[in-house]
Every structure is written in structure tokens, then in C-alpha cells.
Symmetry: C2
């Protein structure tokens, strides 16, 4: 089912999921295509980004962002074409990066919208390596990780858009880089295509031992976006003065209760103390949004020089978005998941 010029299809939040989102979590609705008023522009979404943080927006537990209300359109980053515009700096035919949501059309007053011009190269990359995930990778590694040449960096979710970028930047900066990914195919990609020094399969038997073998000098920086069993294996391998940027905990997003004991909260605090570690959580636009120009210049340069490889998993059709998102939370994505709407 493709886009209509008169109808807007949209996914609204039907109910708050308990644990894993299901087909009942989101509901597809149709309505007349919205019109842009004075000082507004009409955007036709071409690409919708799927990102783990969206699970948090479905929940009304205390979080860093306001939840999506029941019946509201699901939020999400989009690349869109400007259809009509009464906003200065934007005209029909421009391609933009916006927060257009899980729908065909959106109306915007231009706030937070980035104009990429009429014919950007690889427009969807603005949702990945050159957008929020890329900035997350670059800022977390450089601003919190404080990388020093020769140190060992371990990256969870190594084949995902954040992890892949973290590791490749780590290589450029002279680090030994070890990825963690799910399955032999992803691990082969991480080493052969992305150029990590090693990759360990967290789904394989003996994962903790394999990780230990892969980091003979211990771990100086652990880029955390997974949590759970992966963190458990990392914890004893961390070196004195290790830095841990925490941008996500995808393994925990669907958890409905705390796991059984023993309670390791004070064990973690004690490890932070004994190893004199720094653990810092961050939400990239809140903490490092002001560094976007520096990021775009540096990482954009590396991407156009071919020094950073980027893998997309393009899925056609808005109607595929809920299943694709559930798969993302289950670790099924291989590269950056994007829905193609046009």
C-alpha cells in the first residue's frame, strides 16, 4: 500500500504495552491529508527511522521524555519532502530531516527541521550515521569515553547504527576495538566490513570466556547500549579508570519486573569505587546537541572519504513498521532499520 495524495495513514498508540509490544500496541488509522496553515509547511514522509528509544515513549513510567498519549500518533524521526511551505528557508521539493512520526504526512512550523536541499546524497543516512545514532556514537565516545590511543574499546550492539559507528571511529582514533553482536553473520560483518579487531557473539556458548580472551589487556572504554547479560560479562573485565558511556539498555526495555537476586546494586557501586570508574548516562540531543556542527563536519568527512561504512536495512511500507520495530527490540535488525514510505 503506497502513499495517497489525499489520505494520511498513521499509527497511533492503542494501548501501553506490558513487556514486549504486540500487534495491539499500535493501530493504523486513516484520515484526510492535513493542510498546512500560515507559517507552516506540509511534509510528506519518505523514510521513517526505527529506534530503540521509541519503546520508552510507549510507556508512561518516569523517563527522560514525555510519553506518547493513547490515541496520539507514534513519534519518530523522518526524512521528508516539503510539499507546500509558508516557512522561511523551506520550499516545495526540499528534502528535510524532521520528527514527522509514524505517518504519511506531517505539518511543521520548521522548529528542529533540518533542510538538506533538493537532491541530497543518501537522504536516509540522515536518520543513521549522519543523524541521531551517529551523533550518539561520536559524542558518547569522544565526550565521555575520553579515548587514548592504544586503549581497548568494547562496543555492544556492534552491527547496529550506533555501535558500528562507535567502533569505526574508535579504529580511526587508534583504539583496539572489540565488538559484541548476535550471531556469526553479524560478527563476520563487524570484523570484515567494519574493520573491528574482533567480535564476540553474545548468543554463543561460552560468551563470557570468549569476551575475556578477546580483551587480553582488559577494557578501558565500554560503550553501553544493551545491558543485561552483556554487561554482566563486561563488568569483571573493566580496567582501573574505565569509562562507560550509557546511551541505551535495549535488553531491558521490555522488562516488566526486576530479575531474581542476589541484588548486585552495591556490587556495581563497589566496582565503580574500586576501579575508579566513570559511568555516565546521556541522551544525545539533551547533552550533546550543541556539538552537532562539529560532529557533522568530522563524521561527515569520514563517511564521504569512505572511512566509515554504513549498513541500512530498508523495509518497504508503513504497514510493516510495527513488526519491524518489535524485531528491532528482539535483536533481529542487521544495520539501521528504516521504513520506506514513498
Amino acid at each position: 500500500m503506497s502513499q495517497s495524495e489525499t489520505v494520511n495513514r498513521k499509527f497511533v498508540l492503542a494501548e501501553r504495552p506490558k513487556g514486549v509490544p504486540t500487534e495491539k500496541t499500535l493501530r493504523l488509522e486513516t484520515e484526510d491529508r492535513p493542510e498546512a496553515g500560515a507559517g507552516q509547511m506540509l511534509l510528506r514522509n519518505e523514510f521513517l527511522s526505527l529506534d530503540p528509544y521509541m519503546r520508552g515513549r510507549m510507556s508512561d513510567a518516569p523517563s527522560y521524555a514525555v510519553p506518547v498519549e493513547i490515541g496520539e500518533v507514534m513519534v519518530g524521526g523522518t526524512v521528508a519532502e516539503v510539499v507546500t511551505s509558508d516557512v522561511k528557508g523551506f520550499e516545495a521539493g526540499d528534502r528535510v530531516v524532521a520528527f514527522g512520526g509514524w505517518q504519511d504526512y506531517a505539518v511543521s512550523d520548521g522548529t528542529g527541521v533540518i533542510n538538506m536541499g533538493k537532491e541530497p546524497e543518501n537522504p536516509s543516512w540522515a536518520l543513521g550515521v549522519l543523524g541521531m545514532p551517529g551523533l550518539t556514537a561520536w559524542a558518547g565516545l569522544t565526550q565521555i569515553g575520553e579515548p587514548k590511543e592504544g586503549e581497548t574499546l568494547v562496543v555492544a550492539g556492534a552491527s547496529g547504527p550506533v555501535g558500528a559507528t562507535v567502533g569505526q571511529i574508535g579504529k580511526i582514533l587508534g583504539l583496539r576495538v572489540v565488538g559484541i553482536a548476535g550471531g556469526p553473520e553479524k560478527c563476520a560483518h563487524v570484523v570484515k566490513t567494519l574493520g573491528f579487531d574482533a567480535c564476540v557473539d553474545y548468543k554463543a556458548e561460552g560468551f563470557p570466556d570468549a569476551l575475556k580472551t578477546a580483551v587480553p589487556d582488559g577494557i578501558d572504554i565500554y560503550f553501553e547500549n544493551v545491558g543485561g547479560a552483556v554487561f554482566d560479562a563486561v563488568l569483571p573485565l573493566l580496567n582501573t579508570s574505565a569509562r562507560i558511556p550509557v546511551c541505551g539498555l535495549i535488553s531491558q526495555y521490555n522488562a516488566t519486573s526486576l530479575p531474581e537476586g542476589p541484588d548486585r546494586l552495591n556490587l556495581l557501586l563497589g566496582t565503580i569505587l574500586r576501579k575508579r570508574m566513570t559511568v555516565r548516562g546521556f541522551i544525545v540531543f539533551n547533552d550533546f546537541g550543541h556539538l552537532y556542527p562539529e560532529f557533522a563536519h568530522q563524521v561527515g568527512g569520514w563517511v564521504s572519504e569512505g572511512r566509515i561504512h554504513y549498513r541500512e536495512e530498508m523495509i518497504e511500507g508503513l504497514e510493516q513498521a510495527p513488526a519491524a520495530f518489535i524485531g528491532l527490540l528482539n535483536g533481529e535488525a542487521f544495520g539501521k532499520r528504516v521504513i520506506k514510505l514513498g
Copy 2:
């Protein structure tokens, strides 16, 4: 029993404690007073500092410091008088700060020893507000806490040498300061004498609610040196972008096993992420020893101006040291515990 000119009394580690140290942990021995050789000096210890970190040195679990070996003299910071010296910059009669251990006499080549001259004011303060605990307080607050005027600082162990100094510096820097201490007497001291805005008794019924009431704007900086139930009460009150310097976890030092579940390790990581917090462990001389001159100038100035109050608990007699140390771990100290040897 006082010091002899010919005999050295010393406490050696008799056995590694399981849990709380007992009277069997340390053993008092006597030997001939040692002689200083070429390039050495003989120190007569006048004051021995008792500090929570000593519990870690009794254990051979992986830690940031090498353990004391069985049969070795127990380590500890001391203020001493130079008896004889063949070390440049030190002469008989000088008072020094050294790492002389739990004994009457020590021999040193001068490494790490600070000369305070012949008649320092309050020499024992060099083991407290003007020494390691003071530097811990000042560096943890200023270098990790990143205090901003008007923010709320919560300090555990508020009547102890570190906590009392943290809170008083916090007041000088324009923070709202709330202490946590054990019992009404300590809490009254923290508010009336030290000038904290409030103090909450962690031993009283309803402690978590009382803490919540004391921080109507939440907690921006939590200076952690306790862990356990105090941290549990603090965690839900932390604000976005809170900073947590961790210099100790005294409530956990005698723990022999992890507490029962549920396992809150990922809950802590998730809170660090959602609240974009920074948690950083530090060992003061390793991380911030280079800032000692700045600390001595700034905090020394505040102390001599009377802006920082300092409470000592002086206990006479080396033979009292083991019981005084066990009491310290149990929260019985009220102020800085020092053993007077001379």
C-alpha cells in the same frame, strides 16, 4: 601503656577477617626499636589515623591497593616526630605526616613524607580536614560534583571527617546542603555546629520519607561514602544530570555475600541512563593527588578563617586501636577518629 625509647609495639595482621574484624584480626607484638640507616630517618608516631579504607587492606580480594600480608604491620597514616635523620630536608624534632602504620616507630627514606616544621598548629589535623579526608571531600565535590550555586547537595556520613568537610565546603559554594547521619546527637551537630541546612537520621523510622521531605527540589549532587540503605533512599530522589562522586561504601565493607534479590543492577544502570547521571568512583591520591597544593591553599584558608569546623575524636593508647577501628566501621565514630600514641 605509653611509648618506650627502646621497644617498638606494633599491630600486625594476624588473620584476614571474614565480615566484621574481631580481636583476632590484629595481634600486638613487640620488638626492639628499629634503627635508621644511611639515607633514612627514624620516626616516632604521635598520632595514628583510623580510616574505613583500612578494612579493604585487610582483605585480599581484588582491590585498588595491595593487601597487607599476614604478619605484616597494619598500614595507616600517622603524624610523627623525627627522632634521627639522614634524609635531606628533615631533622630531629620536625613533625611530619607519614604512612607510619599501627606502631610506635617507623623508618622512612622520606618518600611521600610531608614536613610540617617543628611546631605546627594542631598537628593531628593533617590526618583529617587538612589531609586525606579533607582532600577527598574537596576534590570529590569540586572535581566530580561540579557544584552550581543553588543546587542541592546530599552528604552521607555527614558527621564524619569527609562528610562534614564536603557539606561545609558546599555551604561556602552556595549549595543547599542536607546531611545524613546516625542518631539525633550527630544530626544536631551537623546542623547547629557545621551549618548544614538539614540533617536526616538514617537510623530513625521513616528515613526515606524524611529524606524526601528534606530535599523538596530533588538531589543534584550525592556525595557517596556509605552505600546500602542510604543509597537506596537517595536513588529515587536524584535529579536529571545528577553527579555522584563515590569515595567509599562503608556499609558494605564487612559484607560477606550479596544481599537477597531482586537484582537491581540493571535498575541502577537504567536510572543512570534515564536521569543522564554521572557516577564516578575515585581514590583520592590516585585521581587527585596532583591537586593537593590547591586544596591545601583553599581549604587551609577556610579552616584558619574559622569557616570550616573540625571535630576530632582522640583516643589514647595504641592498644585501643583495634576496638576503635571496629567501632568506626559500625558507625560509632563521631568526628575524625585518631589514636594518640605519645
